[in-house]
């Protein structure tokens, strides 16, 4: 039986993080499907999904067999690094220091590159397309696997993060089937901002648990950490923007 009060943040974090990754994978798989055909695009995506599923099945139980405080410290530190990386990038994008991720531009660039990579194979075995689809789903999916396994191992159950990731996968696939174009309207940087905050909060909490911190309010501290990282990231954006304003040349 799932305790929804504790499972809620895990499901939300896995859902949002997976949504971002699946949208990025969908953009490239759509480009491959439109240019090189749907069979090789879906073959590559399915092969990669199989490998990723095998990784979850293999590593999930292994991590759950290791002493909890060791897993909390190791996975918490990795989650903290992972979350801080996302949050840093989202802050820099919000501040205008680095460009926003543009799914339409990625789609156009992938389509151009696939058209230039040689003629479309007559047989179903289009190695170029299968490899490209496999690679993008593996690259984006491995981050989803890490989040699901990390959240699952530290919170004691793989079910809540797997449910979150599963809902995100179904939502993105359905939108892809309906729209047949990249999901450019999704505010990807806002999502990355939110996911970065959630992952940093989880990472800090579990790293603290791993080194023996007694959090006030126990699991409820995660909510305070989410609020804290939201404030810190919100402060970082104007500070960063002010620092990087390029003065216009004097006339």
């Amino acid at each position: 039986m799932i305790d929804w009060v504790h499972a809620g943040p895990s499901i939300l974090a896995a859902f949002l993080a997976s949504l971002v990754e699946f949208i990025e994978a969908l953009t490239v798989v759509l480009a491959i499907g439109i240019v090189r055909g749907w069979r090789p695009a879906l073959t590559g995506a399915c092969l990669a999904s199989g490998v990723l599923l095998a990784l979850i099945v293999a590593f999930g139980p292994v991590l759950q067999a290791i002493p909890l405080n060791l897993v909390q410290l190791l996975v918490g530190a990795l989650l903290l690094l992972f979350g801080m990386r996302w949050l840093r990038k989202a802050i820099l994008r919000s501040a205008g220091v680095i460009p926003l991720h543009d799914e339409e531009a990625v789609f156009a660039s992938e389509t151009r590159s696939l058209r230039q990579s040689g003629p479309v194979a007559v047989s179903a075995w289009d190695a170029t397309a299968i490899a490209a689809s496999f690679k993008i789903v593996m690259l984006e999916g491995i981050e989803v696997v890490f989040i699901v396994v990390a959240i699952g191992a530290t919170s004691g159950s793989l079910a809540p993060p797997a449910i979150g990731a599963g809902i995100a996968l179904v939502a993105v696939v359905l939108l892809g089937v309906v729209l047949h174009r990249p999901l450019a309207v999704i505010p990807e940087n806002a999502l990355k901002f939110a996911v970065g905050v959630l992952l940093c909060a989880f990472g800090t909490f579990w790293t603290g648990e791993g080194i023996g911190i007694a959090w006030p309010g126990e699991d409820w501290s995660i909510l305070a950490l989410i609020a804290g990282f939201l404030v810190a990231a919100g402060l970082a954006v104007p500070i960063c923007r002010a620092r990087h304003i390029i003065p216009s040349p004097a006339k």
């Binding site: 903290l80 690094l81 801080m84 840093r88 940093c200 603290g208 023996g212 810190a232």
Partner: protein
């Protein structure tokens, strides 16, 4: 060997985008765990760990060099390092 290096590189890049940020986080966690955590800080243990991480994040983004627009001739890259 080349493929193995490439896979390892991809794995590391999952967690490390900016080496300084990753190193500072790990140093702060290690410093906290080894030196500060044994001190009697009561319910301030968690907030102190968080404050350190928040400061690291803000300072790192403040110092990030802008990759675009490219610096004009005669201008250095602001905030590097």
């Amino acid at each position: 060997m080349h493929t193995l290096t490439k896979i390892l590189g991809e794995l590391v890049s999952l967690f490390v985008d900016d080496g300084t940020l990753a190193a500072t986080i790990l140093i702060w966690v290690a410093f906290y765990g080894l030196l500060l955590q044994p001190l009697p800080m009561g319910s301030w243990q968690g907030p102190i760990l968080f404050i350190g991480l928040a400061v690291i994040l803000i300072e790192n983004t403040r110092r990030a060099p802008p990759p675009y627009p490219p610096p004009q001739a005669g201008e250095g890259r602001e905030g590097a390092g």
